[in-house]
C-alpha cells in the first residue's frame, strides 16, 4: 500500500478531501468542479465556487451549490498546487 498508515476507509478519504478542490460526477454525466465544503451520510454535498460541466463544456457557475446525494457517482480529489 502506498501512502499513509494502516486501515483506511472511504470515510477517511472523504474527511481528508474536505475543503479541497474536487470533481463530483453525477449519474447523468454532469461534472461539478469546486471546493468541497461538507457532506453527510447520504453523500449530499455542499460545494463552493462550483463550475458545472456538461459534455466537458462549462455551462454554469454557482457560488454555493447543494448536490443531492442520490445523484452522485463519484468524488474525485484534485491535486493541490504545491507551495
Amino acid at each position: 500500500m502506498s501512502g499513509s498508515t494502516a486501515k483506511r476507509n472511504p470515510s477517511d478519504f472523504l474527511k481528508q478531501v474536505l475543503g479541497r478542490p474536487v470533481v463530483v460526477k453525477l449519474n447523468n454525466g454532469t461534472d461539478y468542479r469546486g471546493t468541497l465544503a461538507c457532506l453527510d451520510g447520504y453523500m449530499n454535498i455542499a460545494m463552493e465556487q462550483t463550475e458545472e460541466y456538461v459534455d466537458g463544456k462549462l455551462k454554469a457557475k454557482y457560488g454555493d451549490a447543494f448536490l443531492r446525494g442520490n445523484n452522485v457517482l463519484y468524488i474525485c480529489a484534485q491535486k493541490t498546487v504545491k507551495k
Binding site: I45, A46, K61, Y62, D64, F66, R68, N71
Partner: protein
C-alpha cells in the same frame, strides 16, 4: 454567503430559507423561487416559481437538433425531493 456555519450540506439550504433559490431537477427542469420550507428528503415548497423546461427537437428545415425552453410561472409549488439534483442561491453566472 457566509458558509462558516455550514456543517452539514442541508445547512446550506437552511441558510436559503425565505431567499430566492435555483433548483435543478430531473427531466431538464429548472426552478427559481422563494424557498418557504424543505425537509431532509429535499421536498420543498417554493413561492413565485418560474419553471424552465428544456426540450430537444429536430428542426424540420435543416434536420438539426435544437433546444426549446418553455417557461411557466406558479404561485406556490411543492417539489418532491427525489427529483432534485442541485440547489443553489441564484447568484450565479450562466453561460450558454
Amino acid at each position: 454567503m457566509d458558509t462558516s456555519q455550514v456543517e452539514v450540506p442541508l445547512d446550506l439550504i437552511r441558510l436559503s430559507l425565505d431567499e430566492k433559490v435555483y433548483v435543478k431537477c430531473k427531466g431538464d427542469r429548472e426552478l427559481t423561487g422563494k424557498l418557504h420550507a424543505f425537509d431532509q428528503h429535499l421536498n420543498m415548497v417554493l413561492e413565485a416559481v418560474e419553471e424552465t423546461v428544456k426540450t430537444t427537437y429536430v428542426d424540420e428545415t435543416d434536420g438539426e437538433e435544437r433546444v426549446k425552453r418553455t417557461k411557466r410561472t406558479m404561485e406556490m409549488l411543492f417539489v418532491r425531493g427525489d427529483s432534485v439534483i442541485l440547489v443553489s442561491p441564484p447568484v450565479r453566472t450562466h453561460q450558454s
